[in-house]
Symmetry: C2
């Protein structure tokens, strides 16, 4: 199937990551190599920019500018949380036709894959040749098919680094510390809290992910047990932590729940869950020093803390999307792991949009311990290479006494 | 005055920083050079370790171990928030006498300088020769005499980096974002939120520090003004922000206020202020997307994000304390700025303990704008060199349209 000589558009959707611009630059670099792509338009604020015909000419950027874009965190084109309905999609197709856009590259999560999928089907039905490709991006790491998602490694690096410091802080000034980490349904990012552990008694000592329900009583008695043993306790909790009945704790707490256009309840951007947990633990265990932090938006896209592995893979995914578009009508870019550990190696492959659209992935059973309050070595082996390596530390308080 | 041949002790007090271990290693390195210092004991958990006679032999550490300690965030010896009373201090002196400790190096804030000062006076009164030195450390940057404090530059680097990302995040998905940053009485760390600004419309667009009272009405109308102009607004707020009457907002909010042994109310480790501000702004301005993050403990000691300038100076301060102790009976180590900007240069000097003990410094008037809602270029000139440099970014949404 010959690739048409026409224009292309690329957009970035959903929550920003530390390497989403690497994928964008991958698309631009590769598009520059293919004469079939005449103009490459950047959609400002994703689908919202497409319907408003709001585009930037990305072929004009110099190689130097491209590297600056790639190194920048967050979505350089702006993003959107709009979920296009039929009318919205018809408008998108209209703009595509008007601008002779026949290539659509969309960087985002499963909602974005779905948008690409539906628009592609609409174009096919109306007899308009369009090649739609989804490029994976999410700090939640919850997309199907792919081994892992660009964006996750850098966020995992942030979370692991934060816990390295937080555990040392908790050693220095002992008490109970609770960290609330992003992850509505998938615990991958919260699980990353364990990646920096070096010593047997390093925290986090307890980790709770949304895949396992946990009662408040069990949560508090787990903490009590660690605190009695170590005189301190560091706990990592997903924002999507569920009660034993499967209801999200934060939802129980929310007086007025705010939902976005995709029906997702807002869990980030509020410290309510962390404060609730700290208050419950403090009241029950009568420990003076109980603290809680909510990592909030810091964790998803922190300047200067990108994982180089994540950055490189994000760029590859962008490049491959364009390569696939020269041969195929649609697809989602995915990562296959060829080897783990120090030999860590991946390859990129193409899967169908429908395989990635809408659905999400949770942590496999083997990554969570039997008691549902910790993370296994299998997870560490899986996630460690994605962080690009973590700092090693030294704590003297464990040394022999003089 | 000849330096006695005797033992020395070093301790780390108060909240950890990203470079407090650099100062510790500076003390160890320099002590290793002076035969007058026979044993160098590390007090585990600061004064609490001294009274329990809980020490580590720091002369046993290899050069390789020392570099690993120096690169680690947080207090490698452990810390304490105990505020010694007369009985406690008498106990400290008793242990010093028992162990023939005649050098006391204490790394910490103004409370630590005060502890060193009082113990030194007690020793003098009892005719026991003791040389007590304070080594400055605080992320608040609120010590008197010194130009700035080791620990501040790295925390400032974290806060500035966080705001670089947060502003780009807010561009990508516009709305109102409020970030609550450490600083009970001094606004230096919150002011650092502006250091990464590159473009005219970069956030934070509003900055509130404890040095200036601000009413909730003014706070909200300031935000409204920016939001009307830019369609978005990023706000940096000190945890110690005061109402126009000088009362700290967080105190007004606190149902049950928790105080530490120094009489300081706990402002960190809770998201209540951020959530309160977001709720007020949202209710008044009827903007859907209002978010708030509390940076919490992450900002004070983040692994892998130290400022190299800050690290180097922290080490120098530790070394100088030992050098001064060879010549003088007591003192606090301080930094004098010789040149700013690209020629940034400092020298270390000694000041009296009493000059640093107890009192704290606030932001000078010239660092805060007339309206009390922004930070001046004079501050940027002051603080920028301390961060060790910040990442530059690129936002394409400002580029000309295709």
């Amino acid at each position: 199937m010959n690739a048409p000589k026409a224009n292309a558009v690329v957009g970035q959707s959903g929550g920003p990551t530390a390497v989403i611009n690497e994928s964008l630059v991958g698309v631009i670099e590769e598009a520059n190599k293919h004469p079939q792509i005449e103009n490459l338009y950047g959609a400002v604020h994703a689908v919202a920019g497409i319907v408003k015909d709001d585009f930037i000419d990305l072929k004009k950027l110099s190689a130097k500018e491209l590297e600056k874009v790639a190194a920048s965190p967050c979505s350089a084109l702006g993003s959107s949380r709009d979920k296009p309905d039929d009318e919205y999609r018809a408008k998108i197709l209209e703009v595509f036709k008007k601008r002779n856009i026949r290539y659509f590259f969309y960087i985002g999560g499963n909602d974005s894959a779905n948008t690409a999928h539906i628009i592609n089907s609409m174009a096919a039905k109306s007899g308009y040749e369009l090649r739609a490709f989804h490029i994976p991006k999410t700090v939640d790491n919850d997309l199907l098919v792919t081994d892992h998602c660009p964006g996750y490694g850098s966020a995992a690096r942030f979370v692991a680094s934060a816990l390295i410091s937080d555990d040392l802080d908790n050693r220095a000034l002992p008490g109970i510390k609770i960290d609330v980490i992003m992850g509505r349904h998938a615990g991958f990012l919260t699980a990353a809290s364990v990646l920096g552990k070096q010593r047997d008694d390093d925290g986090p000592h307890l980790v709770y992910v949304p895949e396992r329900g946990i009662s408040l009583d069990k949560f508090i008695s787990d903490i009590e047990e660690v605190y009695k043993k170590l005189g301190r306790c560091v706990v990592a909790v997903s924002e999507g932590i569920c009660d034993a009945d499967g209801v999200i704790w934060a939802e129980k707490l929310a007086k007025e729940s705010e939902t976005d256009a995709h029906g997702n309840i807002q869990l980030s951007g509020t410290g309510a869950l962390a404060d609730f947990l700290a208050a419950q633990v403090k009241a029950t265990l009568k420990v003076k020093r109980v603290r809680a932090d909510t990592f909030g938006y810091l964790q998803r896209s922190f300047a200067g803390l990108q994982s180089d592995v994540d950055a490189r893979e994000a760029r590859w995914c962008g490049r491959h999307a364009v390569q696939y578009a020269m041969e195929q009508a649609s697809g989602s870019v995915a990562i296959k792991r060829l080897a783990s550990g120090t030999d860590y190696k991946i390859e990129i492959f193409r899967t169908e949009l429908k395989n990635v659209a809408e659905k999400t992935k949770s942590m496999p059973e083997e990554f969570i311990n039997a008691e549902g309050n910790g993370i296994t070595d299998a997870f560490v082996e899986y996630a460690m290479p994605l962080t690009g390596g973590l700092p090693k530390t030294c704590y003297l308080g464990n040394y022999p006494r003089a």
